[in-house]
Symmetry: C2
Subunit: 327 residues, 2 copies
């Protein structure tokens, strides 16, 4: 299993290339809740999401261990595409990203903007088989989105930074898609202090990780989940991340109404652009805080701020700002 | 006329109470435009807008000059209401704010949250006569939203901070409602260097300041203007601010389509929540940059981040992110 020193090594590797992102808080929210919530804002990270950390650490680790690839490939419709393109660009390694052609134009543009070749195909299945083919070629390295130790280490640096910056934290909450961020955060958190609780949060509509934890066996979603939290739409967690998720102090599921509610409220209170995937995490925080009798200090990882127009429209369809957040 | 030293004095007065807000830039935007644009992010200011500066400076100046009021009053449906409430709270002075009852619930709540008494009435005319009545009472001080030297000085500190933080700036752009921010910014900018150009920007649909500058006489809007830039919906500039606006290097008018376009793009590129009123300013920047033959370094004041749900829905009605910003 990975240890704190592995996250620290990742942090050292990637620190020349990443932003040390700000930690924001809302006095108003804290006064309403009677607790303190600190938001580690990875929406201000390179490429607008924490994923830059995992991709940069993996490429940097490949170079450090004498495995410099001639080419890097990845398949993604989301932030991982941009992260791998960005990481390749930093180290002058050519990158090809396989994306479904229904990916948002903005994300395709951004991925190309980081110098990557983008290959579009009609379905996710085709992109999956294309990347598998491409990865067979000599000197080509495939960076997966979460089920990879160096990706996990990179993602964990967000939590490492937050816990180094703020003292006396009682609990850390992360959204959970494939489990890369949650696994890395667990390693960082428990390495710093086993007393700090570590939680994962998932959309109720895409609760494969929660199902997997309940049954003890990795479960896959049946069909494409209907959730606004597109960063947590992963069909199944990985065998590597599953081993870490089993060690969490708890896992929360959040419904779509609450995801919209917290996306509106965090946008409003923190004055930031953020993805529903991370706003969702507050739903888990609220479930946990309801069970607490003393004042808690909590870290929430705001994973990214890349939201397209159709999703923004869905988020702001109804007015949730008329109902104050209370426990 | 006010001078740089007045803005510096204001900065000294208010600095214990305000945030030194971050200055953000987008590498992507700068690479597309071939210029450098720096955004001074007052959406991260106390109360979520630069207005905190003017209100705090006025109250602080009253105390400094031995004019401590028994009570402070103001009339506003927007950020000025929250700013005055906040300023009163800092110095323990009771505040009453007169607001039209169609003001957004969120802003009414926030104003009350800063400890102010809020008096709602059916029309803006009624709030205006109520505040005028209230201000006649002994010991009551009415803080107007822009046409007041100490309000102007306070607002100018945003630009002072920006120009102290970044070197070799060629031009400063501010949105213009009643002209308080634009006037204060002019004093700060020209005081630091007469070579730095200073511009104001207004919605084409609420172009009373542009009309006033063209005709040389203060012009009032006829009827409530239809613009998303609600912070620039002021019916007329003031006699004090008009004298400063006459000294600007230029003034730009921006249509609604462009206001929506830049609100979407700045949200996307900077990952912040911002008001259409300040996003509009980029429309003026673009008009000016089109006439420039050498690379320019520009400051834009992002005035605030308080946006309600109906406005957000209007902003994101169509997808503007498919058309890249180019000169």
């Amino acid at each position: 299993m990975l240890e704190l020193k592995d996250i620290v090594a990742a942090q050292k590797r990637i620190s020349p290339y990443i932003n040390e992102t700000p930690i924001l808080a809302s006095k108003l929210l804290n006064s309403w809740l009677g607790h303190e919530v600190f938001f580690k804002c990875e929406n201000f990270q390179k490429i607008g999401a924490f994923k830059a950390r995992g991709a940069l650490n993996t490429v940097s680790w490949l170079l450090e261990t004498g495995q410099k690839p001639a080419k890097i490939v990845a398949n993604s419709s989301g932030n991982h595409a941009q992260a791998v393109a960005f990481a390749g660009q930093q180290f002058g390694i050519p990158v090809t990203i396989f994306m479904p052609d229904y990916s948002s134009k903005v994300k395709i543009q951004a991925t190309k903007g980081y110098g990557a070749e983008v290959v579009l195909s009609k379905t996710r299945d085709i992109t999956d088989s294309l990347v598998r083919e491409a990865a067979k070629e000599n000197g080509v390295y495939w960076i997966p989105p979460f089920n990879h130790e160096q990706v996990i280490c990179g993602q964990g640096t967000a939590t490492l930074e937050a816990l180094n910056a703020i003292e006396n934290i009682d609990a850390v909450f992360t959204p959970c898609g494939g489990g890369g961020l949650t696994s890395g955060s667990l390693v960082a958190t428990k390495g710093i202090s086993p007393k700090i609780k570590m939680f994962g949060v998932e959309p109720l509509q895409a609760n494969d990780a929660a199902q997997s934890l309940r049954t003890g066996v990795i479960q896959s979603l049946k069909g494409i989940p209907k959730t606004l939290a597109d960063g947590a739409m992963t069909m199944a967690i990985g065998d590597i991340t599953f081993e870490y998720l089993k060690r969490l102090d708890g896992f929360f599921e959040v419904d779509e109404e609450e995801i919209v509610y917290w996306t509106q409220w965090l946008t409003h209170l923190l004055k930031i652009r953020l993805e529903p995937t991370c706003a969702m995490t507050m739903g888990g925080v609220m479930q946990w805080l309801k069970t607490q009798e003393t004042k808690q200090r909590v870290v929430v990882i705001i994973t990214g701020g890349n939201v397209d127009q159709p999703t923004t429209q869905k988020i702001w369809d109804k007015d949730c700002l008329t109902t104050l957040p209370v426990l």
